[in-house]
């Protein structure tokens, strides 16, 4: 398959020697707009033909699965401190699966659109449809994965992307002669429900002694968590909590200093 061969990665700069195959490149998801999504496939290091296909999506929205998922979380390589090369991650998930990192939607990482307005009107809906389109065309390029077990995984705002793509696949499968063998999803620290996420978040801040009783009560009494956009009063309490009471911490890892 010429397209597959054209995507084969021979060796990344500064990469350690490995036994598994890698591929990366673009799949066009909308010819009219010229939208193309970038992917990086690192196959399983043993018996890739018998291992499932696992798609990994990062969130943001707007963040790259190559930057996070592949390069500092589950991928086989880590980037060294001088960015001169890569070193092997012995806890890589490609010890048990074929990992497909997808930068979605267009505008994320290397994924692009020739229609620059696309970068100003992305959203959940189009992202899910483009990601399904990507998967269908990617499977045409890599036909050995067509009947393979597929799992979709991700974290953070991909708590939206992963279930929404799963739903698109389930709907596609209802009408397709060649259904995608979707077996499951796994998400981490996932954005799930505005109201309950927000309620749970301020509860966590209070129960982990990150904010005062007073600020906690103000948040609960001032904020209406059902609304997408908070009121100015609520926003100012949030700002006070983060700027004055959290202090100089990394909110993504509360017992560590922030990255400057």
């Amino acid at each position: 398959n010429e397209e597959e061969e054209a995507d084969r990665i021979l060796q990344l700069p500064g990469q350690p020697k490995v036994s598994f195959q890698q591929y990366s490149g673009y799949v066009t998801v909308n010819h009219v707009a010229g939208r193309a999504l970038f992917y990086w496939l690192t196959e399983a290091d043993h018996n890739p033909l018998s291992k499932p296909l696992v798609i990994w999506l990062n969130g943001g929205p707007g963040c790259s699965s190559v930057a996070y998922g592949a390069s500092e979380e589950i991928g086989p390589f880590r980037i060294n401190k001088t960015a001169s090369g890569l070193y092997y991650n012995k806890f890589s998930w490609n010890t048990v699966a074929n990992l497909l990192f997808l930068e979605t939607p267009a505008g994320v990482g290397f994924s692009y659109s020739n229609q620059s307005s696309d970068l100003f009107n992305s959203g959940d809906r189009r992202t899910a449809k483009d990601s399904l389109e990507f998967l269908l065309r990617w499977l045409d390029r890599f036909p050995r994965y067509k009947q393979r077990e597929v799992y979709i995984t991700g974290e953070s705002y991909a708590g939206h992307y992963v279930p929404q793509l799963a739903k698109e696949i389930m709907m596609y499968n209802k009408h397709s002669k060649y259904p995608i063998n979707l077996k499951g999803i796994m998400v981490g620290n996932a954005v799930t429900d505005n109201y309950y996420d927000n309620l749970g978040t301020v509860t966590y801040w209070w129960s982990h002694a990150m904010i005062s009783d007073k600020t906690y009560r103000q948040l609960i009494n001032t904020c209406d968590f059902t609304h997408q956009k908070e009121s100015n009063e609520c926003d100012s309490v949030y700002s006070y909590a983060m700027d004055q009471e959290f202090g100089n911490i990394d909110q993504y890892n509360i017992y560590a200093p922030p990255c400057n």
Binding site: V54, G60, G62, F110, L182, V187, N189, T203
Partner: protein, 148 residues
């Protein structure tokens, strides 16, 4: 702060060539997160719980995990949200283990498995790679997390 390394590495021309990336010479640097996209995000679902109900009805395997030192989408946020699904418990709450250490706690419901990961931030596999790999292996095998 490792994404700083990525900002350098993936903007190297030799790396982009090896990855067959940036073939159209996009008029902006590659970056880990696009501020432009984030600020102009349009439609967003208020809740994903209805899709969870559809996926459970469709028989998909669903695992949700949470690093317990993240304060951006913390463990209590996920627990409040999942509680709205009102799922029956299949295997009651218990600590799971990795290398004789508590990896976190977990509960298996009808249709969904929830697990915390002790000491992990927002990017769980970054902070607890060994525990994350064990979590992933259990998910792929469809087996509950180990009790010892």
């Amino acid at each position: 702060c490792t994404e700083k390394y990525a900002e350098i590495y993936y903007n190297r021309p030799d790396v982009q060539k090896a990855l067959h990336a940036n073939i159209t010479k996009i008029p902006y640097k590659w970056t880990a997160c696009s501020e432009l996209l984030n600020r102009n995000w349009k439609d967003t679902d208020v809740s994903i719980l209805p899709i969870y109900r559809e996926m459970i009805a469709g028989g998909l395997r669903i695992w949700v995990f949470s690093g317990d030192i993240d304060s951006v989408v913390p463990v209590t946020a996920t627990r409040y949200s999942l509680a709205q699904l009102k799922l029956e418990t299949k295997i009651p709450w218990y600590p799971w283990y990795v290398k004789k250490q508590v990896g976190g706690w977990t509960e298996v419901y009808e249709g969904l498995t929830f697990a915390t990961v002790r000491g992990a931030g927002h990017e769980v596999p970054l902070f607890k790679p060994r525990a994350a790999l064990l979590l992933f292996k259990s998910f792929i095998r469809g087996e509950p997390l180990p009790k010892s």
